[in-house]
C-alpha cells in the first residue's frame, strides 16, 4: 500500500511538473531559445515579484477625449475602462490584479511596471484601439522556475477624437466599446489572439458580450500566465502532434471543445507538437485547423505575432492550408463529429497525451471565417445570437459561406456539435449581400454557448460559440425614475422587463446596489456616486450574456441631483521617496466610501493602504520610489466622481461633463 501510494504521489508530481513546465497552452507572445525541438516557450508577462500586492497599476490619460456621443463623458469613459480592467480581476485562478492608479499627465516619468491608457490624436483612421506590451531584452524566472521575458510597461491606445470611431462602437457604454477595452487589456497583459470565439478572438469571430466577456480560453490564458495557488492542479492538459506528410506543422490551431461550454485552444510548436493546458476536467472533442488566410489589412494570419527563434527571427507557419479534422483515434481524423466514438476525458493534473493529427494540405480552407448574427425583437443585430430554448424556428445570418456568385458552396452542410439543434432551412440572401439565413428548430440543449459546424465534401469549419442558447428574453429598461428611500436617500426605480434574479444594473459602467424589487416588478437601486447634475447611461445585464442594449442600443439615462462642488486638502504636500508616508486627505462636500480609490498617476508612487475614516476624511499609506516626480498630482475616484489636482494644493472636483 505504502509503495502504491508513493507511486501515485510521484505520478501526481510528474503530472503537475508537466503542467508547470509545459510549452504551449493558449498562445502568448512566444520566443524559443532553441532552433530545434523540444520547444519550451519563453513568454512575455509581468513579473509578479516586482509588483506591489501582485497588482499591475493602470493609469488613464487626463486628456479628455472629444467627439463623444451626446451624453457621454470623460467620467463615463474612465469608468468603463476601470470596469473592463475589473473583468480580468474577476478571474480567481489568476494571481495578477489590475489596480486603478489614477489619472496621469503626458510626459510623467515612470520606472516601475504599469499600463498607460492614452487618448491619442496620432491614431490613423481605420484603427479603433491598440494594445501591447513593452519588454527589455532579458529574462526572469517565475515561481515554477520557468524562464520568461518581463513586461516592463504596456500601452492601451484609444482615439482622442471619438468621432473617428464607428458609430456602433463610439458610446462608452456600448457592447463593442467595452469588449474592445477588455480585449486590448488582454494584449497589455501578454495575451495574443485566439481562434475560439473568446474575448481574445479577433472581432470577426468573437462571441464576447458585455455581460459575459470572458470564455474558458481567456480564463485559461490569464491563469496559465499568472497561476494562482492550486490552479495548475485543478486543470488538465491535452498533448500531441500535428503532422503533414510526416513533417511537423507549425502554428496549426488545436482546439478542445465540449458540447456544453466554450472552447480552449493553443497553437503548435515549429515541430508540430502542442499541449493545451488549463483544460477544466470534462469531456472534449478535439480538432486541428489551419490559421485562416490573412484578412485584408492584417499583417499576418489573424494578426498573430509568430514565435521567434533564438536569433530573434520569426518562425512563420509552414503551410498554406489543410483540411480541418476531429481527432477520432486515427491519424487521419474525421470531418464528422459523429464519427468520433468517444470524446476525450480530461482529468485534473493529468496530461491526456498522444492526441495526434495527420492533416492533408489544401490550397485554401473552404471557409476562412464564418460570422453569425441573430436579431432581436427590435431588429438589433447581435453577434453569437441568443436563441431562446424551445423556439420552433429561429434564424441566423451567416457570412463567409457563399460563393462569389452568391450561390451556396456546393455540398455545404450545417450542423451543431452534439446535435443540439437541427437546420430546417438554408437560404442565400439576394445580391449584393453575401450571407445566408439558417433556420433552426428542435432545441434539445441546455443554456450556454453552442458550436456550429460548416462542412463541404473535403473540408470543415468549426465556429465555437456560433450562437448562445438562452432560457429567457433579454432585459429591457422602459424607464428610469428617481425616488427616495424611507430615510430620504436617493434611489432610482428601474422599470422594464426580462429582469432575472441575477440581473445587474450599471450606471456608466459602475454597478448600482440593488435594494429591492417592488410589487409592480420595478427594481429599486442606489446609484453609484456621481457628480452633481451628471447624466449616466443605465444598462441591465443578465448572466446569460444578454444586455438591455440588445433591445435598446441607445441606453436610457439618469440625471444626478445638483450638488455643491467638492474640494479636498492633502497633507503632506510632498511625499518623500523613502519608506511609507501617511497621507491625510480631508474633503468638503465629498462622499468618500470604501469604493473610493486614490492614485498618483504613476507607478512610482503606490497606495499601499487606504482607510476611509468618514465621508470627508481619508488616510492613505503611500510608498514613493526615488524616481517619483510629483507631476501627475493626485486623483480620487468614487463611483463616477473624479477629483483631480496637483499634490499639495487644495483639490477641486472635475465635475465638468
Amino acid at each position: 500500500m505504502k509503495r502504491r501510494a508513493l507511486v501515485r504521489a510521484a505520478a501526481a508530481v510528474l503530472s503537475l511538473s508537466c503542467l508547470a513546465a509545459s510549452a504551449s497552452a493558449y498562445y502568448f507572445y512566444v520566443s524559443f531559445n532553441t532552433r530545434s525541438g523540444p520547444y519550451n516557450a519563453i513568454v512575455k508577462k509581468f513579473d509578479l515579484n516586482t509588483l506591489t500586492n501582485k497588482t499591475v497599476p493602470f493609469f488613464i490619460s487626463d486628456q479628455s477625449p472629444v467627439g463623444t456621443v451626446a451624453g457621454d463623458s470623460y467620467q463615463a469613459i474612465v469608468s468603463e475602462i476601470r470596469a473592463a480592467a475589473d473583468v480580468w480581476n474577476s478571474v480567481s485562478s489568476s494571481q495578477l490584479r489590475l489596480g486603478y492608479g489614477g489619472l496621469f499627465s503626458a510626459g510623467t516619468p515612470e520606472t516601475a511596471p504599469g499600463i498607460d491608457v492614452v487618448f491619442s490624436d496620432d491614431i490613423p483612421p481605420g484603427i479603433v484601439a491598440l494594445g501591447g506590451p513593452s519588454t527589455w531584452n532579458g529574462f526572469g524566472f517565475d515561481a515554477n522556475g520557468n524562464t520568461f521575458i518581463p513586461i516592463v510597461r504596456s500601452t492601451l491606445v484609444l482615439h482622442h477624437d471619438f468621432s473617428l470611431i464607428r458609430t456602433e462602437q463610439r458610446a462608452s457604454y456600448s457592447e463593442l466599446f467595452f469588449v474592445t477595452l477588455v480585449h486590448e487589456f488582454g494584449h497589455t497583459l501578454g495575451l495574443q489572439h485566439t481562434l475560439t470565439s473568446s474575448v481574445m478572438a479577433t472581432q470577426v469571430t468573437s462571441a464576447s458580450s458585455r455581460a459575459t466577456p470572458l470564455a474558458t480560453d481567456d480564463i485559461a490564458a490569464i491563469s496559465l500566465l499568472y497561476p494562482a495557488d492550486g490552479y495548475l492542479g485543478s486543470v488538465g492538459s491535452i498533448s500531441g502532434r500535428v503532422t503533414m506528410n510526416g513533417n511537423g506543422v507549425n502554428l496549426a490551431s488545436v482546439v478542445a471543445i465540449p458540447t456544453a461550454g466554450s472552447a480552449i485552444s493553443t497553437l503548435t510548436n515549429p515541430d508540430g507538437t502542442y499541449q493545451i493546458n488549463g483544460v477544466p476536467p470534462g469531456y472534449y472533442y478535439v480538432y486541428a485547423h489551419p490559421l485562416p488566410p490573412m484578412l485584408s489589412g492584417e499583417s499576418s494570419p489573424d494578426n498573430i505575432v509568430p514565435p521567434k527563434d533564438s536569433n530573434g527571427n520569426p518562425i512563420q507557419a509552414n503551410y498554406t492550408a489543410f483540411a480541418t479534422q476531429f481527432y477520432n483515434g486515427q491519424g487521419g481524423g474525421t470531418r464528422d463529429w459523429q464519427q468520433v466514438q468517444q470524446p476525450l476525458f480530461v482529468s485534473a493534473a493529468n496530461v491526456t497525451a498522444g492526441i495526434n493529427f495527420n492533416v492533408s494540405a489544401r490550397t485554401a480552407p473552404a471557409f476562412p471565417y464564418v460570422r453569425t448574427y441573430g436579431y432581436t425583437s427590435t431588429n438589433v443585430p447581435v453577434t453569437t445570437a441568443p436563441l431562446t430554448l424551445g423556439m420552433q424556428s429561429v434564424s441566423l445570418v451567416a457570412y463567409g459561406l457563399l460563393q462569389q456568385n452568391n450561390t451556396l458552396t456546393p455540398g455545404l452542410g450545417v450542423d451543431t456539435l452534439g446535435g443540439v439543434a437541427t437546420i430546417t432551412d438554408i437560404k442565400p440572401y439576394s445580391p449584393p449581400y453575401s450571407a445566408l439565413y439558417l433556420s433552426w428548430r428542435s432545441f434539445s440543449a441546455s443554456a450556454g454557448p453552442k458550436h456550429l459546424l460548416f462542412s463541404t465534401p473535403n473540408d470543415l469549419y468549426v465556429l465555437p460559440s456560433g450562437f448562445t442558447a438562452v432560457s429567457n428574453p433579454p432585459p429591457s429598461i422602459s424607464s428610469v425614475v428617481p425616488t427616495f428611500d424611507s430615510n430620504g436617500n436617493r434611489e432610482v426605480a428601474i422599470y422594464g422587463s426580462g429582469f432575472q434574479s441575477d440581473t445587474r444594473i450599471f450606471f456608466d459602467g459602475q454597478a448600482a446596489a440593488i435594494d429591492s424589487v417592488q410589487a409592480d416588478g420595478s427594481w429599486l437601486v442606489r446609484p453609484p456616486a456621481g457628480p452633481g447634475g451628471y447624466s449616466a447611461s443605465v444598462v441591465a445585464l443578465n448572466s446569460d450574456g444578454q444586455s438591455s442594449l440588445f433591445l435598446q442600443p441607445t441606453a436610457p439615462t439618469f440625471t444626478y441631483d445638483q450638488a455643491a462642488t467638492p474640494s479636498v486638502t492633502v497633507i503632506p504636500s510632498f511625499i518623500p521617496p523613502t519608506g511609507d508616508t501617511v497621507v491625510d486627505i480631508t474633503g468638503v462636500n465629498t462622499n468618500f466610501t470604501s469604493a473610493t480609490t486614490i492614485g498618483f498617476g504613476t507607478s512610482d508612487a503606490v497606495v499601499k493602504k487606504l482607510t476611509v475614516l468618514s465621508p470627508t476624511h481619508i488616510s492613505a499609506v503611500v510608498a514613493a520610489s526615488n524616481a517619483w516626480v510629483p507631476t501627475s498630482g493626485i486623483s480620487l475616484t468614487t463611483g463616477l466622481r473624479i477629483i483631480s489636482q496637483a499634490v499639495g494644493n487644495q483639490i477641486t472636483a472635475t465635475d465638468s461633463q
Binding site: 481605420g126 531584452n137 464607428r166 484578412l295 436579431y375
Partner: protein, 186 residues
Amino acid sequence: MSCKLTVKAMQKVFMLVLLGVGLTPLPASTLQQLSLDDMIRLSTVIVHGKAQQTVTGFRGSILYTHYQVQVSETLKGAAGSQLDMVVPGGAANQLQQIFAGAPSLLPGQDYVLFLWTSKSGLTQVIGLSQGLFVVTTNAAGQQIIIRAAAAERMVNAAGQPVTDSDIQMSLSDLRARIQKTLGGGK
C-alpha cells in the same frame, strides 16, 4: 411566421446588419475596415515609392519605427521627394514594444502608401496595414498594386476571397480611381 414574412423582416434587419458588417472591425489591435474609396478620401497623401527604416523613438508612451520614403510619384496631396513615416511598435535601446498587426516594410520594395498625418505631424499608413500596397509588374509589363503580403491568401471581412479591384488593380487604374473619388482634384 411564414417564410415570406421572415424574409421581409430579415431584409429590414439585414440593412442594419450590413451597416455593422460593412464597418466590422477587423482583427488585430482593433481595426475598422476601410474601403479603397475611404482610404482615398481619408488619406493626407498617397505616394508611390520605396521605404527604408531609419530610427525608432518614443512619442509619449508609444514607440514608433520610422521609415524614410523615397517618393517616385505623388498620387494625392503634396509630398516632397522624400518623407518620414512611422509604424507603431519596434525595438530601440534594448526595449521592444509590440502592437499586433503593425506592418513591417521591406527595403527596396516598391509600395503605394496611403498615408495619414496627425495634428501633431506624425505620418502613418492608414488603418495600420490597410493602406499598404505592394507594387509589382505583371507579364504585360503593367504596374499592379496589391495589398501587401500574399494577396492570394486574403479575404475580406465577409470571408470571401478577395480578387477584386479593391485589393489588386493597375497603378493607372488607381490614378483614375483617385481622380474620380476626389472629384477630379488631388
